[in-house]
Symmetry: C2
Subunit: 423 residues, 2 copies
């Protein structure tokens, strides 16, 4: 569980009351995301100025935050002397300057799930050996593309795809994506549950392992790794389930024999609201060390959200402020189609005005922030407290760096937005 | 309520036992969508052949069905001698050949909600006078675009947009989108509730009407119409709420005085499962005649779903058939990102094999159809009965014509699909 006292969260989440002058007013403030002279700033850039200059809707990403998150994972695993590799899950955000930045850091490879992502990873400069491919409902066309990239690491998610890979690439090294029958969503979010008591489409179950091994033998496939995706968005309170999943890996590995890697997937979460405890990376790493240390396998991890979610904000302009039946609606120039998490996954995004001269509690009013799509669910936030804003002001939606632009649609032909990686 | 005996539904939904040889086995069969010699056919084309030739994922649309649905609305309204116009809600599907077909029929105008849609409608050949624009959270940039199209019909959704329109286009004719505080979603689907007991972002409430009229006078705006969007997906059982909404329009019109049109929005639904009653268009038209006849205004209606939803199917190829823990998973080569309604709106799509030699009850098995996106919610259908299918077969997902391609995303770089309007 999160102690509330570890150095890491104090520094990064601005709860350090010793810092005096730069002590935070808000749970989300941190050195590279804070109010400076009344303006919200990310990575040293004034977001109000960026929004006015580049126009909205606008995603802005912090280069430094991405590096810091990668370094934090490395540091936590190194503290436990865990041999490991990180693969960035590019489905979270594939904005090319951001992807290029991540590649150039040299701190991770790329986790891909489709031929398109594999091609983009290669284009970005990742070598085949730095790419891990884990798909589901894998078609023959997908397997043909994988066969043309012999050094990409592939994890098979079903007996069917293992057999069809074997037919195409006998002798290839392969990982098995397994399903331990346990999983974690963001809190209790059923939509995001990857595995659990009800059978899911993902991975090979323990009851299928005999047949998996037979198929591998038939095609001389060398099983070099196991992959498990525990879920997504897990924070410290979910680490107990994470432990149980790691324990299950041990059972599968006994069936397979020596392996080179255990890929524990992604799923590391970021706090979305003030009450969310942070993920205690030190404890996370201790769990891995104690549960998987005996396997003598390298630990691979595939974070997406954790690397880019809180590195990005979505800036929107207020075009309407209007009371309707006692509710103050703040209308903005972007809708749920450019970031679907609040509407479809019930994942909140904190709304912060880009300029806020008066942040006293007295100036707060209760508002509902509404997008520009003709659908009732197109609300960014309901019944939240915001300082008074006017038509023309800009709002920042925090935690906008993951699954925003990458999942956006052109619904109502309202799909236009810009992206900007702060230099 | 739907009587179950009206001629319309018997013919169009294949429940007519008198038709002998072509009597349907399935609730969804109709003359242009049926099995012919064991192959599923739409608009006279064999869908298995189309899928093999053009590749999947593939949307196929029936030209004739679109025309028929438009004609049915016209006929129902004409039977009640209701002066009316239809505006096709292009947000439902803007595939250009389909849009071109709809324009060329000359049976409707276009309902648009953004500058992009307005431009596309114009490009497709709709004149400004044939375009009705109803937005929400309308920006100044949107209003500037509308100002450059002086003959487009605009419905203002807030006092703020009415004021800002007045500043740009004094003297313009304008409609008011009103909110009667009542609304209908697909059944009890909260996500799709447009208005109702809780204040929503849409429209001008009765309590705001005095101010709306003041703003109109200040800018010499001529209020020529009222617009109300009752909800979406309504079928016969929801017509009682529809009646109440129409009654509310009367109250608003007394405040405004003479108007040229009442736009009753879209929302006409299509049956999605066997148990869904059809929308009784004759009763729908009688409701309109009895409740709005005294207003001496033209009735405008903006169907989207109703025109295109059941005119289209989504074809996918099976790549995986695998038992996992007692569940038979059918993996296909497309995921929820190319049609989000099942995953995000809980709107079912009937799954039908494109070839089915053995359709006897004995051959049915219980399956779950899973897409190719690494998310647990990416299931097209759960625990449904299907004839035995094999890897390589094609499946048709019915009711794929609306809000599929138009809301699709490139999530996981799995956004590729083709569309085909049967000639």
């Amino acid at each position: 569980m999160h102690s509330g006292l570890d150095h890491d969260s104090l520094v990064h989440h601005g709860r350090d009351e010793r810092r005096g002058a730069i002590a935070s007013r808000h749970w989300w403030e941190r050195p590279d995301l804070a109010f400076r002279d009344g303006s919200l700033s990310l990575g040293g850039r004034d977001l109000y100025e960026l929004a006015s200059t580049l126009g909205t809707p606008l995603y802005v990403y912090s280069r430094g935050r991405v590096r810091e998150k990668l370094e934090r994972i490395h540091a936590a695993l190194e503290a436990e002397r865990i041999r490991h590799r990180i693969f960035y899950a590019m489905k979270a955000n594939r904005y090319e300057p951001l992807l290029q930045h991540i590649q150039s850091l040299g701190l991770c490879g790329a986790d891909v799930c489709s031929p398109g992502e594999m091609a983009l990873a290669t284009q970005t400069g990742f070598s085949e050996e730095e790419i891990s491919y884990t798909g589901t409902s894998v078609s023959n066309a997908d397997l043909d593309a994988i066969a043309r990239h012999p050094d990409v690491w592939i994890n098979c998610d079903s007996l069917s795809s293992l057999r069809r890979l074997g037919e195409r690439c006998p002798g290839r090294r392969v990982g098995l994506r397994i399903n331990p029958g346990l999983g974690i969503g963001y809190g209790v979010n059923e939509l995001l549950r990857y595995s659990g008591s009800k059978p899911t489409k993902f991975g090979i179950y323990e009851s299928q392992m005999d047949e998996a091994l037979q198929i591998a033998r038939r095609f001389d496939l060398s099983i070099v790794g196991l992959h498990v995706h525990a879920g997504c968005g897990y924070l410290s309170p979910q680490l107990a389930v994470f432990d149980a999943i790691l324990d299950a890996i041990g059972r599968f590995s006994e069936r397979v024999g020596d392996i080179d890697y255990v890929n524990i997937g992604g799923g590391l979460g970021s706090p979305l609201v003030a009450a969310d405890p942070e993920l205690d990376l030190a404890q996370w790493a201790r769990s891995i060390a104690s549960r998987l240390g005996h396997l003598d396998a390298e630990i691979w991890v595939e974070p997406g959200d954790f690397i880019v979610k809180d590195a990005g904000v979505l800036l929107l302009q207020v075009n309407t402020v209007e009371q309707k039946e006692g509710v103050c609606f703040i209308g903005v120039d972007g809708g749920f189609n450019i970031h679907i998490e609040p509407a479809f996954y019930a994942l909140p995004m904190e709304v912060v005005p880009c300029r806020s001269a008066a942040l006293s509690d007295e100036s707060l009013q209760r508002v509902t922030v509404a997008g520009n799509i003709n659908e009732a669910l197109d609300l960014w936030a309901q019944d939240i407290l915001l300082p008074r804003v006017a038509e023309g002001d800009y709002l920042a939606l925090l935690n906008g760096g993951a699954y925003g632009s990458s999942m956006s649609s052109n619904h109502c032909m309202r799909g236009a937005f810009s992206e900007y990686l702060v230099p």
